[in-house]
């Protein structure tokens, strides 16, 4: 089975949950920016959560499905059509052979994830299908999708959602989809200023109370110079009271570094493995999907929570995903 790229969109790359286990060699983790949407898309079509999805950025692609396919489009809200018909998001969609899926601009959020049942037939590089653009490896030849690329997908639909399959056979519609939908970070995202929870970083104390207050009481905006590597924020300069010579060490998804100009950088999926700037804070992992969905120029505020709370929120999120998975598994038999 194959998918042909008619229009590639602004930046459409294959991503999975990242290239783990190679950071000690300097190899960047990468992976989906919004892990939540990525996992839900996979769960919806019956894939393992580690399977690759297409990460669609701001402006979506047009794809032609040669054979019937079961897909799910999660994450950012965008316009999606087959012919004249609007394709619903956050749920399984069974497409007829020859369907041309056209997606447009993201209306809310910045990244959508397209999963296809069975996954994409792309070879692993270091145990991952994630595309790492600066290193030009992973995914489709280490690059974003281009016009006329042909993506292979798995052969069978594993008899998921038998009632949907019957409905498609019995109707003349281009596709069929059920009424239920899975959760999305966007259900919690307003259009205005976002609130992002953080925990103290390694050098929080060194910044002193004045800078800590500035960080927690100011509004920052996501600069245009933000990408999969990091979000550069503009706002009041956060200059540490005491200058300490930093020694490079490992950094994580969500680490907030402050270079000498005082404008913080939040490290995202394609962050380098190590960094040498002071680390004022880290974004609570539970809020990384929200951050991944922020568009340039959107504003945010930080709220400080304890490490204990951040981990409990994270565990609660994991528990929720397990519940969604169970509920969807039930639907897949119907």
């Amino acid at each position: 089975m194959t998918i042909r790229v008619i229009k590639p969109g602004m930046l459409t790359t294959l991503q999975d949950r990242g290239r783990h286990g190679y950071q000690h060699l300097g190899v960047v983790v990468g992976g989906a920016m919004d892990e939540w949407a990525h996992r839900l898309a996979n769960i919806t079509v019956g894939n393992g959560e580690e399977e690759a999805t297409l990460e669609i950025t701001l402006q979506g692609p047009t794809l032609e499905f040669k054979e019937a396919a079961l897909i799910a489009l999660c994450g950012a809200q965008l316009s999606a059509h087959i012919g004249e018909e609007k394709v619903p998001q956050h749920r399984p969609v069974l497409l007829r052979a020859g369907s041309r899926l056209e997606t447009g601009n993201c209306q809310l959020g910045a990244r959508a994830y397209l999963a296809v049942a069975g996954g994409y037939g792309i070879a692993d590089i270091m145990n991952s299908k994630s595309t790492y653009l600066p290193g030009a490896f992973g995914g489709v030849e280490g690059r974003a999708l281009r016009k006329d690329d042909v993506l292979a997908t798995a052969e069978s639909l594993d008899n998921l959602y038998p009632s949907l399959q019957q409905r498609l056979q019995a109707s003349a519609a281009a596709f069929v989809a059920p009424h239920f939908a899975v959760d999305s970070v966007l259900h919690h995202m307003a259009r205005g200023t976002q609130t992002v929870r953080i925990v103290e970083g390694r050098h929080w104390q060194q910044f002193g109370p004045v800078v800590q207050g500035l960080m927690l009481n100011s509004e920052f905006s996501v600069s245009l110079n933000s990408d999969r590597m990091g979000y550069r924020l503009t706002g009041p300069a956060l200059v540490a009271q005491s200058e300490t010579k930093m020694i490079s060490e490992s950094v994580a998804f969500g680490t907030i570094q402050v270079p000498p100009d005082g404008q913080p950088i939040i490290l995202m999926a394609d962050r380098q493995t190590t960094g040498g700037y002071p680390k004022i804070a880290s974004v609570a992992s539970v809020d990384l999907p929200l951050l991944a969905q922020m568009q340039p120029r959107q504003s945010l505020r930080f709220v400080l929570i304890s490490l204990q709370d951040a981990q409990q929120l994270y565990l609660a999120r994991e528990h929720n995903i397990r519940l969604v998975k169970q509920a969807v598994a039930q639907k897949q038999k119907e």
Partner: protein
Amino acid sequence: MERKAKAITTQLKGRFHPAGDRCLIVEFGQKIAPDINRAVRSLAAYLLQHPLAGVTDVVPAFATVAIHYRPEAIEGLRAGASPHNLLCEQVQAILIQGLAPQQGDARWVEIPVCYEGEFAPDLAEVATLCKLTHEQVIERHGASPHFVYMLGFAPGFAYIGGLDKRLAVPRRMTPRTRIPAGSVAIADELSAIYPLQTPGGWNVIGRTPLKLFDSTASPPCLLLPGDEVHFVAISMQEFQRMSAMQS
């Protein structure tokens, strides 16, 4: 949140710092020094060979080991328990039990370097700063007993210690936007080789024809932490010949 790890059988004393809610950093000191880095490599080697449940990456740096983990997969997790505290206890137990020192088993890696022409845009400036001739810079770079402290910054980028102190020069005021793959550079008391073309602020004094990183090889990196590195000067002709053999 900081705990002091006791070391009974060895000199390994680590301080524990959370780095966000999915990473624990164990710090063995606050400077770039071979003995601190040996402790770092001991713990990292042990954790890579004996993976703890839930740990996804173990990242040794100059003075710290970062342990990246999935909080939901830490062993012994019960309702209300702190994954961070559980992991601290497990790592502390490893430090207390004691670790084999990482020395004596270092690999010896020879890196051919052409220190000529366009490959060495900063050689003249380095020589001037150090009050040495070009030949003396090359000779001292080759004579130093180098070793790999850590990999980071880019895939396969090695921070290499042991540079002759007389070659210690600061980073360039304005980083270059494009440093070609294979460039051999120095800054402060370190050497490095750029595996991929990236921007960079180090002083480029030569280029190696060797491939430092290959995403399809196993391991993908030529250099690993703890490796002893010996830089050997080669001519432009040898460089061309070796480059042709690489591709």
